[in-house]
């Protein structure tokens, strides 16, 4: 148990000192504030830049537009930045050989994997939480009185999908070599999951749905029970991937 804690501490120090924490917190702060502003200002800006005399009718933006920005930005830029920043977390240590010293001192190999996942998960949770909180505050000011339904669950689904991707990244990094092999494999896995939606019925269970359908949730277009199967698949899948990562890493020649 002690090894998990010690290595978790080391990981968090690493994120803070190698600018990983800074990047993620800054990016998600910026997103959190930008989402409502974009929603609010788009019609005004459009009107300003329209050639004189032309008038267009744009529906008055609502809180939902603000959250639409949140889900779009988190799902695209947010997740990409998350994976980019964390792509070197295991691969870098293996290629540099920094683990050899600690492993010969008796550091348990599963502690390396589990602590790394825990640390990434913690940072991801803070990032997405911060972004959602800022969007919520700004939205409350800019669009007073508007309510959005099933919001907490929709944000949870987005968080869960990020947690799943981090598990994919970690497992991929134990298998693939090089500094960016894990990242590449993760990209391929996402493409594969997207392609899977061609199969009838797959959409219901596909982890990707957690991110892609979060907006429908917030817009109340679907009930949250629609995503329950995907949640039920994603949680064991993420845990299973961490299990695989531990098994592979245990046998890996360092």
């Amino acid at each position: 148990m002690k090894h998990y804690f010690v290595f978790l501490k080391k990981e968090l120090m690493e994120y803070a000192r190698t600018y990983k924490l800074l990047i993620l917190l800054a990016v998600f702060t910026i997103f959190g504030m930008t989402n409502p502003l974009i929603a609010k200002l788009t019609p005004d800006l459009l009107a300003n830049f329209m050639p004189g005399g032309m008038t267009i009718t744009i529906p008055e933006p609502t809180a939902l537009d603000s959250w639409a920005q949140f889900f779009k930005n988190t799902q695209q830029m947010g997740l990409i930045v998350l994976l980019l920043v964390f792509s070197s977390v295991l691969a870098g240590e293996i290629s540099k050989g920094t683990l050899i010293n600690l492993l010969t001192k008796g550091l348990m190999r599963q502690a390396v994997i589990v602590a790394k996942y825990g640390a990434m998960l913690l940072v991801w949770s803070i990032s997405v939480g911060l972004s959602a909180f800022l969007t919520w505050v700004y939205t409350a000011y800019l669009f007073p009185g508007d309510g959005v339904s099933q919001l907490v669950f929709a944000v949870f689904c987005m968080w869960l999908f990020g947690a799943f991707l981090l598990a994919v990244l970690l497992a991929a990094s134990t298998v693939a070599g090089g500094n960016y092999g894990g990242l590449l494999l993760t990209g391929l896995a996402v493409v594969a999951l997207l392609t899977l939606n061609i199969v009838p019925g797959a959409l219901k269970y596909n982890p990707v749905s957690l991110a892609s359908r979060s907006m429908e949730l917030a817009a109340n277009a679907i009930d949250k029970s629609v995503l329950y199967p995907a949640v039920a698949v994603t949680i064991p899948a993420a845990l299973g991937l961490i299990g695989i990562a531990v098994l592979v890493f245990r046998r890996k020649q360092i």
Binding site: K20, L22, I23, A26, V27, I30, V85, S87
Partner: protein, 67 residues
């Protein structure tokens, strides 16, 4: 630009966050002569020109070892 005047209070923290990111990246670039690729001038241009994306790309891909 009435819009900016109306919402400056909301825009200010956003601009500050962008600046923090940019300044941190610039400080790092000036303190470290080695990059994984590219030159100092190139990274300065990238970081200043591309808001948010520039510093991210620098820290993820361009940053050399600690010295």
């Amino acid at each position: 630009m009435d819009v900016l005047r109306e919402y400056w209070l909301f825009l200010l923290p956003l601009i500050i966050a962008q600046f923090v990111l940019m300044i941190t990246a610039l400080v790092h670039i000036f303190k470290h002569p080695d990059y994984r690729f590219g030159s100092r001038a190139m990274w300065i241009v990238i970081v200043v020109l591309f808001q948010m994306v520039g510093p991210i790309v620098y820290f993820v891909f361009g940053r050399g070892e600690d010295h």
